[in-house]
Each structure stands twice: as C-alpha cells, then as structure tokens.
C-alpha cells in the first residue's frame, strides 16, 4: 500500500512513522523550510519530498497516480479540501482522508469535496475531555466507529446504586451492554439475572449517552466535596 501525506506537522510526521513501521510505502510532501529541517531528522530521506503539495505537478512528481490513499493533514483547511478534491477528481486516488483544523469548517469535509474520511482532532479531543470530566472513574479502553461507541471499564464503588440489582432491571440505556464482570480476578460473561457487587470491575460497550447513564448507576451516592472547600 502506498500512502501520500500532505503536510509535515506533528500529525503528518507521526502518521508517516506509524505507516513506515507497518512497511507501507510513504511519501510526505512539505514546503515550509523550517519544518523540512526537522522532517529530515525524523524521517528517512526518501520519504520526504520538498514542494507545495497542492500543486498538481508536485503531486504528479511524487507518484500520486500510483497512490492508494491521500492523507491531507496540512494546517490549512482549504488546502486539505482542495487536495482531496484534486486527488480524487484528477488523479483518481481511491481513498482520501482529511484533517479538520478549525471545527467551523467541518461542514465542508464530505462528498462535496471528495473527502472520504474527515478527522476533526479538536472536536474528538474536546469530546474525550468532556467525557473524562463527566464520567468520573470510568476509563475508556478504546473507541469504535470513530468515537460513536466506546468500550469502557469501571470499578463498582461501595454504595453504588447498581449493587445487587439484576442487570436486566438496572435501567441501563438502550445503547449499553455490560460485556464482562471481573470479580476477584475471574472474568465472567454476565446474563440478565447477574448482579454487581462492590469492587467488581465491569467492561461495557456503550454510546456516549449509554456511558453517561452507566456512570450514574455506578456513582457514589454523593459527590465528595473537593478539598473540603465549598464552591461559591
């Protein structure tokens, strides 16, 4: 597989390294002088190509006609959009992936500009932070379907509302399944009549709303006051 990367910032460099480790053929195009100096320290020489990635003659020179995918990850949203459009419309690249820098521009990253996959890093990060804040001790193990679902893990604290209630009666949200219960180091796959005990660890697959509801069921009855100080 041959992947073209446009933009040699942190994202582009990291991506190039990940793909090289998997033995992909990779070419990264960048034109900023100062960035190029760093790229040559971090990537093999043959991977880095100096030029303006949106210039079709540059794309042609790096072999875009043979590329299987274009990853447009420059810091300019308009450049990423134009790159996807040109890659697909002129050079028939089968798959285009673009980075969204400013979330207000996300509405354009779709079929209108021939973007197959849009990655909105600010948005993903903001949602993760929001989730971490609202879900207490729940830990996200990994995300599926680009963050629409998560596999989460949480320990059942003493006094949690859910203790002793069979799963089927617990009032879990529709998009939430408790997939495993780990008790004293032994994992079991629960059924509807299984119930939770203090100090159980559970693994669940849930949508954001499902995870929110689960967190409520597993929460301490009262939130402890932070630092003993009351907030005004």
């Amino acid at each position: 597989m041959f992947v073209l990367i446009a933009g040699g910032g942190r994202t582009g460099t990291r991506l190039a390294n990940l793909l090289l480790a998997q033995n992909y053929k990779v070419r990264l195009v960048e034109h900023r002088r100062d960035v190029l100096t760093r790229l040559h320290q971090e990537l093999p020489t043959e991977v880095v190509y100096e030029g303006n990635s949106v210039d079709p003659s540059v794309l042609e020179a790096v072999g875009i006609r043979e590329a299987h995918a274009m990853a447009a990850v420059t810091s300019e949203d308009s450049t990423n959009l134009a790159l996807c459009f040109v890659s697909k419309n002129i050079f028939e690249v089968p798959r285009t992936i673009a980075r969204v820098n400013n979330p207000v521009n996300a509405w354009l990253f779709n079929d209108k500009f021939k973007v197959d996959v849009a990655l909105n890093s600010a948005d993903v990060l903001a949602h993760l932070i929001q989730e971490e804040m609202s879900l207490g001790d729940m830990m996200t193990i990994f995300k599926i379907r680009r963050g629409h679902y998560s596999v989460v893990e949480e320990k059942v604290p003493a006094g949690a509302k859910a203790i002793g209630i069979p799963l089927k009666d617990m009032g879990l949200a529709e998009y939430c399944v408790i997939a495993a219960i780990i008790r004293d180091g032994v994992m079991t796959l629960p059924r509807g009549d299984s119930s939770l005990q203090e100090n159980d660890e559970i693994i669940a697959v849930a949508s954001p709303e499902g995870a929110q509801r689960l967190a409520e069921l597993l929460a301490f009855p009262v939130y402890p006051v932070r630092n003993g100080k009351k907030r005004e």
Partner: protein, 220 residues
C-alpha cells in the same frame, strides 16, 4: 444585484468599489478587520469580519440570495473552496475565483470554476508591451490566451496579399482590415497597402511570429 466578495485585499477592495459605483449591493468578507481599511472612503456596503469557509459567515453574508460571488483572497485553495461551496451547496448563479499563484491555476480549473489570474495576466500584458510595442491589444479573451491585436502594415508589405503574410503563421487569424476609416472582412487574396490597420486574433506566440514577419521583410 447582490454580490458577495470574499477577500478584501487590493483586488477585493477595488472590485467592491467598482460594483458599488455601478449600483450593486455588496457584502465584503475578510478574516482580518484591518483589511477593510483598503476600501474606498466613498464605498457604501456591508463589511463582515469572519472566515470565508464558515457556514455561519457565508449565511450572514446572504449567500442564499446572492446573485454572484467572487473569491479574491491571495490563497488559491481558499478561493477555489469558497467558490465551489457557493456553486455546489448554495447554487449561486455566477461564481468567479481569483488565481493568485500561476502554478496553482490548474487547481482552480479542476473545480471547473471561472478564474481570473491577475498575476499571470498582468505579467503577460507587461511582456507584450515590452517585447511587441508595435502591436496594440484591443480585446482579451479568457485569461489572455487569445487576444485581438491591431497592427499597422509597413511599406515593405505594400502590394502583397494577406495570404502571403499570414500563411506560415499557425496561431494568428485575420479578423478585420481597416483602410481610410472603413473596415472589411479580409480574404486571403486581399491586397495590402501601406498604412492599413489589420486586426488579428492570435495567441501570444502568434503575435510574436507576426511581429517578426512584418519586420523581417522590411529588413530583407
């Protein structure tokens, strides 16, 4: 008519003023407030500070009712993307994108957009005036790929036919021949006279070749 201009640089500011003077309603969008200082003091139109790609900005500019949009920033990709969005998403009837870097003109053309390349066009005009001062350009089509020139027939070609003059030239076609204030559609066997004004439709290469040919016979 309602026009939206994205980009208030020198081209944008001049365009806004011209449209305003012709009686149109103009909204000009730029991400930097200082850019609006370039607008002519007499300009009366709406200025909108914001990113030209943002949906909310385009809608506040009134893109749903716009009769035309021109994207004239100094970023070719921004111009192409804004113009494409205006055409495809909002069905704006007339859309023009400025080409800034001549190397990126193909990018704008890939979107199938009408484009004006001020850099390329300006450089070509200056080159014409420098290298072919005897040829006067009277009409420019597209981005100057084909232009109509007016050229004076020198004494050396007096009595020759138009066919003799133009036959070896592949990128130069006769349009009109003016003699004593009257013009006619010339034929290949039309006899040329000193002082005739010949209009030709030609590429840049074509007019260069014609210039050399007109001068060549005089020297020979």
């Amino acid at each position: 008519m309602n026009y939206i201009i994205v980009g208030c640089g020198r081209v944008g500011a001049e365009l806004c003023y011209r449209l305003f003077k012709s009686g149109h309603t103009v909204v000009v969008v730029d991400s930097r407030r200082e850019s609006f200082n370039r607008l002519h003091p007499d300009f009366r139109g709406r200025t909108l500070e914001g990113e030209g790609l943002a949906e909310s900005v385009l809608e506040r500019a009134g893109i749903q009712e716009a009769d035309g949009l021109a994207a004239v920033t100094n970023s070719d990709t921004l111009n192409a993307v804004v113009a494409h969005a205006a055409r495809i998403i909002y069905n704006v009837p007339t859309v023009v994108a400025r080409n800034y870097d001549p190397n990126l003109r193909v990018v704008i053309e890939a979107f199938g957009l009408q484009t004006v390349g001020s850099t390329y066009w300006g450089a070509q005009r200056v080159e014409e005036l420098l290298t072919n001062p005897s040829q006067k350009m009277v009409f420019s089509a597209g981005n100057g790929e084909v232009e109509v020139y007016e050229t004076l027939i020198p004494e050396a070609w007096n009595g020759s036919t138009l066919g003799d003059l133009l036959k070896p030239l592949t990128q130069c076609y006769p349009v009109a021949l003016s003699r004593a204030g009257r013009s006619s559609l010339p034929e290949a066997d039309t006899k040329l006279q000193t002082g005739d004004l010949l209009n030709v439709s030609s590429t840049f290469e074509g007019i260069g070749a014609l210039t050399i040919r007109l001068a060549g016979k005089a020297e020979a």
